[in-house]
Structures are given as C-alpha cells and as structure tokens.
C-alpha cells in the first residue's frame, strides 16, 4: 500500500470539491443569503486538499490504492461536504449523516423543517447527490471492473480494459463518455421540468436528485409540493432512466436505439416495475378512496422511486394499507440496474439468482443434464454467481445486524428494519418513524452512526469498504 498516492489523489479530490462549492456559494449570493458557511467551507476544504497534494508522487496507483481511494474518497467527501451544514447550525453528527446521505445518493434526511434552511444550503444538499451519482457511475462502470472486484463482469465495461498497472488513461476516457451521457440526460430533465412550470432553482435541484437516484427535495412534502401530475410523471420517467444502466444509455443514444430493449437486465427491470406498479395500483384502488388513474399515478411513482432507491414521495405511504406498505417494503430490496445511480441489491443480481435457481431445479429433475445460467445469451461464469451470493449474504448480514441494533436502541421493528434497508440500499425513506414525511432525527446517536456506515458500505457495494477494515489490506 502506497499511502502517499492515496493522500495525493484524495488531496486532488478535496481541492476539486472546494472549487465546486463555489456553485452553491453563487446560489447563496443570488438569494442574498449568508455567504460565511460556504466561504469557510471552501477555505478549509481547499487548504486541506493542498496539504494532501504536497505528497506529490509520480507513481501510478494500483489495486490496493484504488480501493483505499474509493473507500476513503467517499468518506472524506462526506466529512468536508458536511461543513456548510455545521455552519448552518446543524449538529456535527446530523450534518455528517445528511452529507453522507447526499454523497451516497441515499436521501435519508435528519432535517425536520426543510424549508427553514437557506436555498444555498439546500442547493448544496441536492448538488452533492448529483456529484455522488456521477461518482457512482464512474466507479461501477470504469473503476471497479479494472480493480478486479468480484462480480466485475456484471458491470460490463465499454471495452476490454488495459493491464492492471496502467489504470488511469482508460478510466479517464470511459468517465468522460459517461459524464457526457449524465449531462445530456440531466439537461433534458431540467428543460422538461422548466416546461412543466417549475422555477429554474426547483428544476435544477430536483434534476440533481433524480439523476442520482438521490431523492432529496427542497420541500418537506417532496414532489408532492408541486401538486402536479405532469411533474410527477416527468420525475417518474427520469427516475426510471436514472435507475437503468448508463453504459446502455450511451449505446442507446449514440449507437443503436434497440440496445436497451435487448438487454436482459433492462427487460427484467421494466417487468418488475410494471408488475409491482400494477399490483400496487389495484391495492391502492381497493384500499384507498382514490380513482383508478390516481391509484396508478401514485403506484407507478412510488414503485419507481422506491425500487430504484430514489425515495421521492408524493404521498405518505406510511399511512397506506398494510398490503400497500408490503409492496413498498419488498421493492426496497431490489434496487436499480448495474451501472445506474440506483442502490439496493441490484436487478441483475436478483435476475441471475432467480435464473440460477431455475437451473438448479431443472438439474434436480435431470441429474445428468448440463445446463448453465444465461445472461444476454452468454453463459454466466460460476465465479460471478459465487460473488453475487457472497454479496447478498453479506448484504443481508449487515442489514440484519443493523436492524437488530436499532431495535435494541429502542426503535420499533418496522422502523428498525426499514431504516436499515433504506440506508444500506441507499433508498432514503423507510416506514414507521422514518417514513417519507418523517425524519431520521429521532434515531439515537449510535443508531445514526450505524446508518451512516450502512450508507457508505451499501453505496460502495460492501467489498470496497470492508477490505479497508482488514489488517491484511494495510500490510506491506
């Protein structure tokens, strides 16, 4: 482990973060708000960045350094991104919670009266999600496959990668393409929302948090504040897009329009969204006093937003019937597609596990048959299935431990379970105390720390963080 390289890269990251903070500073200036929080944050962040940059080295980073940069990168971004919140009067723990929730695109909030905070601060909160989403796409499509992370083939890189010791040029190239796609789609959403009547501030802020599958809103009522079916359908559409693979979007936009529809994961993703929305429509229609089309609107909005781990709300689903809440609870575990900004277990993993089980069932009937699991017409190698399983097992283990600890700290079972999955899956809201119109503020400090860890671990697909805690990792 060459710690100097890690410091150097993190230094560059902090300097960049400080420079980016000029944007919310501008927003605060435009609205005539106090500039101190951002000025001080920029100073602290840039100076720390410059200090770290003094560890200049010409060496290239390799696997281990890559892990450390990713894992610690998200952590220090959250720490420094929290400074404006602290200066806005939020307690340090709550500020770190909110900032980690933003950079991991989780969208769980400890704010209880969102509108009472300055526009600059809320803009920064949304922008951090957009930056986090950007980071995630590059991480999954460009960086992790090169680091040889278990299950890498899942995140189909655009082209075969270079050898392990020359990571940077290839990553930079792939990142550029992805960011372009991310920009183009974001731009389309801003324009659409403007046409639907939103202010520029609202349009940009909600585009930030849609594209990141983030789910922060500058309104306590979330998307419900606009009271506009048109806006809701626009957000539903772009959330659905953000929950799909950006590498596929690239191909669909620039290469072949049919590419998305030919992809097994995208088809399964669409099928899941449609069937869960269909069921929820019927349940809401039966259990609530709403018409069929309103039920459909409510259903598809919340299925898309919860399943992709975005977490926007237009109604307090915490108050729905038990069966409707069950649908919400179940889709929480699914997540977005690989290479999207969505969190959760991910559609492709669920699809492959299901196909694997079907194959095993076939083998139980035909003990001598040879049959392999297919994905996009190619056989899935056993190592992939192996790594998916260990991912899901560790995911469930962390989920269970977290839910258990929260309940020990005094939270009820539904809150403990949904707060854990909502943070680990980077979803945002849960049920019970942490429902869409609630807040994570009532959770005790130790619980908040665990949920912060959940967000961090969940966002970086577990391994990337866990390896940092093994002594072997830091050896040599």
């Amino acid at each position: 482990m060459n710690i100097k390289i890690v410091f150097y890269v993190l230094g560059g990251l902090l300097r960049l973060l400080g420079i980016i903070m000029v944007v919310p500073l501008g927003v605060a200036y435009y609205y005539g708000e106090d500039l101190t929080p951002f000025l001080v944050s920029i100073a602290i962040t840039v100076i720390t960045g410059l200090i770290l940059l003094s560890y200049k080295t010409d060496e290239e980073w390799m696997r281990k350094e890559g892990f450390a940069i990713v894992g610690l990168g998200w952590l220090i971004a959250a720490v420094f991104g929290a400074i404006p919140f602290v200066l806005d009067g939020i307690s340090p723990l709550n500020a770190l919670f909110e900032s980690m929730s933003a950079f991991t695109t989780t969208g769980s909030t400890i704010l209880t009266d969102i509108e009472s905070h300055p526009k600059g601060i809320l803009f920064w909160r949304g922008m951090m999600q957009w930056l986090g989403g950007m980071g995630i796409i590059v991480l999954f499509i460009a960086i992790l496959p090169k680091l040889g992370v278990a299950g890498r083939q899942l995140f189909r890189a655009e082209a075969p990668g270079p050898t392990e010791d020359k990571l940077k040029p290839r990553i930079r190239e792939t990142a550029k393409i992805l960011w372009m796609v991310y920009f183009v789609i974001s731009f389309a959403q801003v324009v659409t929302l403007l046409l639907a009547g939103l202010s520029l501030y609202d349009a940009v802020n909600h585009t930030f948090t849609t594209m990141a599958c983030g789910g922060f809103s500058n309104y306590g009522l979330s998307i419900g504040a606009f009271n506009s079916p048109l806006v809701e359908y626009i957000i539903t559409f772009f959330t659905f897009v953000a929950g799909a693979n950006f590498a596929l979007h690239y191909r669909a936009i620039y290469v072949d329009r049919d590419f998305l529809l030919k992809d097994d994961e995208f088809r399964f993703y669409t099928a899941l969204v449609l069937s869960a929305s269909g069921l929820l429509t019927l349940l809401l229609w039966r259990d609530l006093n709403t018409g069929f089309f309103d039920s459909f609107r409510l259903a598809i909005f919340h299925v898309v937003t919860i399943m992709t781990s975005t977490g926007f709300a237009i109604a307090d689903f915490n108050l729905w019937s038990e069966s409707s809440k069950m649908v919400i609870l179940l889709v929480m575990f699914i997540g977005g597609c690989a290479g999207s900004t969505g969190g959760g277990i991910k559609v492709v993993r669920i699809l492959i596990l299901l196909r694997h089980s079907r194959t095993e069932l076939f083998k139980a009937l035909h003990p001598r048959a040879i049959k392999s699991v297919k994905f996009n017409n190619k056989a899935v190698p056993d190592e992939i299935i192996s790594s998916i399983i260990s991912f899901v097992v560790i995911y469930l283990l962390i989920f269970i431990s977290s839910a258990l600890i929260l309940s020990v700290l005094g939270m009820d079972i539904i809150t403990s379970i949904t707060a854990s999955i909502a943070t680990l899956g980077n979803i945002g809201p849960g049920l019970g105390v942490v429902g869409p119109m609630g807040s994570f503020d009532p959770i005790p400090p130790l619980g908040k720390l665990i949920l912060i860890a959940n967000m961090w671990i969940g966002r970086l697909e577990i391994y990337t963080v866990i390896v940092l805690f093994t002594p072997e990792f830091w050896n040599k």
Copy 2:
C-alpha cells in the same frame, strides 16, 4: 413414472396410518371419550389403503417414484390424519391445517380453546408430530441422499449408498438405526418428565412434540401451563437435542462420545443458541421487570424452541419489547441442523453460506489466491454451494410471495411476515395475530390454504414438492 408403484407404497402407508390410529383410540377409550371419530377414521384410512394396495407390483421404485411417494405421502397422511378432527367438529379446512401442521411438525394451530377438545384427539395431534418427525429423519438421512437430491451430501448418510436401482434395502437398514435412536431419546425424555412430576399423558404428549421439534401442547398456555422451571429446562434440553443431527446422535451414543463436539454444524448451532440466548437474556433483563436468572430461563427456552423450529412457549413473547421480538424474528429463519427434526433454512446452510462469503472476501483481497470452503475439514464441492443458494433463493421467494398474499388478504405486515416464515420454516407460532398465545384461525381461507402449502413445501425442503408440479415430472 410408474404410478402403480406409487399407489402401492402409499396404500401401505395408509394401512399403517390406520393401524397406528388404534393408539389414540385406546387413549380415548381410557378416558371414556367418544370412540366414533377414531373408529370411522381407522375404517376409512385402512380401506383406502387396501384399495391402493391392490395395485400390487413387483417393480422397484426409482428416483421419480421416490419423489412422488415422499411428496404425496405427506399430503395424504395429512388428509387422512385430519379425519378425526373433522369428526370432532372442526371444519375440514381447519382440520387439514391442523393435521398438516402436525405431520410436518410445524405446530401452528387453528384451535382457539385447546383444552375443550378430547384427550384422545389431542393425543393424536401430538402423536402425528412424533410420526412426522420420524418420517423427516428417515427422509433426510436415508431417502433423499439416495434420490440424488441437490445438496444431498449435506445430510451425510451413514455409509455410501447402493446403486440407484436398489434403494429399498439400504434405506430400511438406515431407517431402523435412526428410529432406534429416536425411540431411545424419546424414552429418556418421557422418564425425565415423569420424574419432574408430569402425568404420563402429559409426559408422552410433550415428548412426542419435543422430539419432532413440533411444538403442539395439549395446553393453551403451552409449557407455561406447568409453571415449573425444571420442566422448562428439561424441555429446553431435549428440544436442543432434537434440533441436532440424529445421525450424529447415533454415533455419539454408540460410537464416540466426542463426535458431536467435533462437528462443525453442531458447534455453530451451539454457538448460535448461546449467543442469541445471551443477547435475549440481557434484553429481557433490561426491558422486562424480571430478574437475571428468570430472564435467562425465558431467553434460552424461547431461543432454543424458536430457532429449532419447535415453537413451544412459556410466555407470550408477542408482548415483549421490540428488540426482544426482533431476536425471536431473526432466529426464526435459522432452523435446526441437517438430519434433525427441526425445520427452517438449517444451520449447515447458513454456516456454509457464511464461510463462502468469507472466502469470497479473501479472494477480493487476493485475486490470484485459490481457497475453498471447508466443512468438517473437507472442501465443500461447488455443486453443494450452488444448490444451497438456489434453495435459499426459492425459500425466500416463497416466503415473500406468501407474506405478500397474506397482507393483500388484510393481515398486518408483522403477522403476514411471521405467519409465512412460521409455516414455511415449520416453526409454529409467529408474532402479531399468530403469536404464541394466538391462533391461525382468524386467517382467511385462501391464506390458510397458502400456509398449508408452506408447511408441506417447507418440510420437504422445497424441491421434493416443487418437482411434482412440473409437467416434465409426470412425462413418460
């Protein structure tokens, strides 16, 4: 598929079942109760058995017939075992629920006032569990491994089996040994309970349902009715024994006393029981107004009884604090050891999945390392891990579907979730409406049918039942 052989074997099973019903008939006679229910049931069961036995054939049964015999065997045993309940005035659906719950050793009950039923009927209810437990041990240790069921090596047969087309002699031999062990331990429990002051009727009835990890009691208060810590500790001990592998018990009793302690699964099982009991002791001590030792007694009793899927109760844990209920909910998913009468996912599967994940994590750190998962110092073949995964995936899928349907039928989330896992895992009681002092009676008919299917599918380790529903199975 040679359906004649299946009919013939099932005929023999029914004739035997009819003959066994003479035992509860004797109990009813002893207590001067109405004999009609048993006399009629014996007549119907034996006559049906004889009709099926007319399909006499000299052919041996093979794989497919083996599956059909096992799957349909449990089903028709439940159907005919329900007749005495129907004649006792219980509705046919409820009677089938209770009888399936008995033969699958689940212990979920639709009775609301247990003591109002005749002693003969309650004895039959307990005895069916004991018979079901017997069937399960033989199924897992002697039959399934020979049928080449996925994951067969998990259930380590006593000795290498014969070739596939000569199944019967070997199965018969293994079955005899196992039944002897089952008898010996059952006898020890009856004697111990008698010494602790129970009546012969209570001692035999509760031994039946302990040894089967069944959990039916002839008292509405379950083991709480005896109000005796001594009885509780005896039941805890024998439940713990029944939740361990009977093939190991055989070796421990007749070959080498250390055999159990050397077994990875038994050690992990013990560790799980102790750690969950320890945690629950502390939680009960903190949250309830009970002393430390009473908390320990409550904790170890319920952890053992729920984890092994027995489901006895000495307190209404439905009324405990949220964290205590969470511990109960979590251990529900574990189950007993392979080759025990316990249900659930099973300790060995969880152990191997955890070890697999640890190995994968190691590989993420050392991409070129070769390392395999070990169990009892032997490498676990990849097919085993593969089959465990598909088992767990299908298990969770059935669990989720069942919970979803129950909630759609109007049950609350906690009841829907725990009723599903309590039946699929053959545990017995859940939380909410179906708590240990509650009943499954309030669940709507469709829900009961699904829970009956859960018990059947869960008890036969899923595959054995699922294959019966594939058209391929019945071809040729």
